[in-house]
């Protein structure tokens, strides 16, 4: 099971549709400051159910929709899709590919999808339960967060530990 593709449209600085295709091996994303690399990380966590705007560096959830630039107007819709290869049936879904998607409109309406069928957040969370993959999973280490475990006090570390293992 591996992440095959992430597709972003209207999410933060990704006004135009952009796809990133991956292999099972290691991939690196590079580029200048402020060009959108960490926004891809935010997108990943957003699709997997991140509910805190602050957790996505925003003040409200609508902040994830492309806000426009000097030369382009804001969009009214943000969409992110994750495509997983599920040949080994690691995910509890009867399909060799699993696509998870999340859509948010500027009027506030939002939607989750699994393989193009509308579903609820809890359905998405259920797929990834206990895999370590998720908005809060230990499998996403955000920028500036590397030494979070060290900065925490010993009780907080216990919590982190229990959630991870």
């Amino acid at each position: 099971m591996y992440l095959k593709r992430i597709s972003l449209t209207g999410f933060k600085s990704f006004a135009d549709p952009v796809d990133f295709d991956f292999d099972p091996g290691t991939s690196a994303i590079v580029g200048p400051n402020g060009c959108g690399k960490s926004n891809i990380v935010d997108a990943f966590r957003w699709v997997l159910g991140e509910r805190s705007a602050k957790g996505l560096r925003g003040s409200e959830m609508l902040d994830v929709i492309f806000k426009g630039t000097k030369t382009r107007s804001a969009l009214s819709r943000a969409e992110v899709r994750l495509l997983f290869d599920n040949d080994d049936h690691f995910l509890p879904i009867e399909a060799s590919e699993v696509e998870v998607a999340r859509i948010l409109l500027r009027d506030g309406t939002s939607e989750y999808q699994i393989n193009r069928r509308r579903c609820r957040l809890k359905d998405v969370l259920a797929i990834f339960a206990d895999t370590g993959i998720g908005a809060d999973g230990y499998s996403v280490l955000g920028q500036g967060r590397v030494d979070a475990f060290l900065r925490a006090n010993s009780q907080e570390r216990r919590k982190i530990f229990e959630e991870a293992a």
């Binding site: 992440l3 630039t69 475990f149 293992a165």
Partner: protein, 165 residues
């Protein structure tokens, strides 16, 4: 329940000891449960002793030493509870070249069983990736994807448009 936690704790602790020495090229790292407290309540303390130095508080560690220690904890958790997928956003920012290379070597071990997505500015980390994506803003404020060769990545900072294929 106590046994479950203590067993998994001991396992992660063992992993941490091994991985710490790999990351630092020596030294000793340890995870300890708070003493004189019920193991079900005890907090977790981190001990980090870089090669040749005496044990002292985490705070006295240098920026790079803190990063390496924290990364070792993540990998120690990861080894006990592998996730098929992991995103690391600029975890190598504080590392000098030598430590960056060691980090990459340890990462490659884990990459045999998990898919890693690295966001990085470091040439040393990028070179190891099997797939390299560039993100840049050809139109101001709008992210787009570019295919990058390592040679382009080296001149990246000076002129992102050079990397466009």
């Amino acid at each position: 329940c106590r046994t479950l936690f203590t067993d998994s704790f001991q396992e992660v602790r063992q992993n941490f000891q091994e991985i710490f020495s790999m990351m630092f090229g020596g030294g000793t790292g340890d995870l300890k449960l708070e003493e004189n407290v019920d193991p079900l309540e005890a907090g977790i303390d981190v001990v980090a002793r870089p090669p040749g130095k005496r044990i002292s508080s985490l705070r006295l560690l240098s920026g790079g030493e803190r990063s390496l220690t924290a990364i070792s904890v993540i990998f120690a958790l990861f080894k006990s509870r592998p996730s098929p997928f992991c995103i690391l956003d600029e975890v190598d920012a504080a590392l000098d070249e030598k430590n960056n290379r060691r980090f990459v070597r340890v990462l490659n071990e884990f990459a045999k069983t998990s898919q890693f997505l690295l966001i990085t500015h470091s040439r040393i980390s990028m070179v190891e990736a099997e797939r390299l994506y560039g993100v840049t803003m050809e139109e101001q404020g709008v992210s787009c994807r570019v295919v990058v060769q390592i040679e382009d990545a080296k001149q990246w900072g000076d002129d992102p448009t050079m990397a466009v294929h």
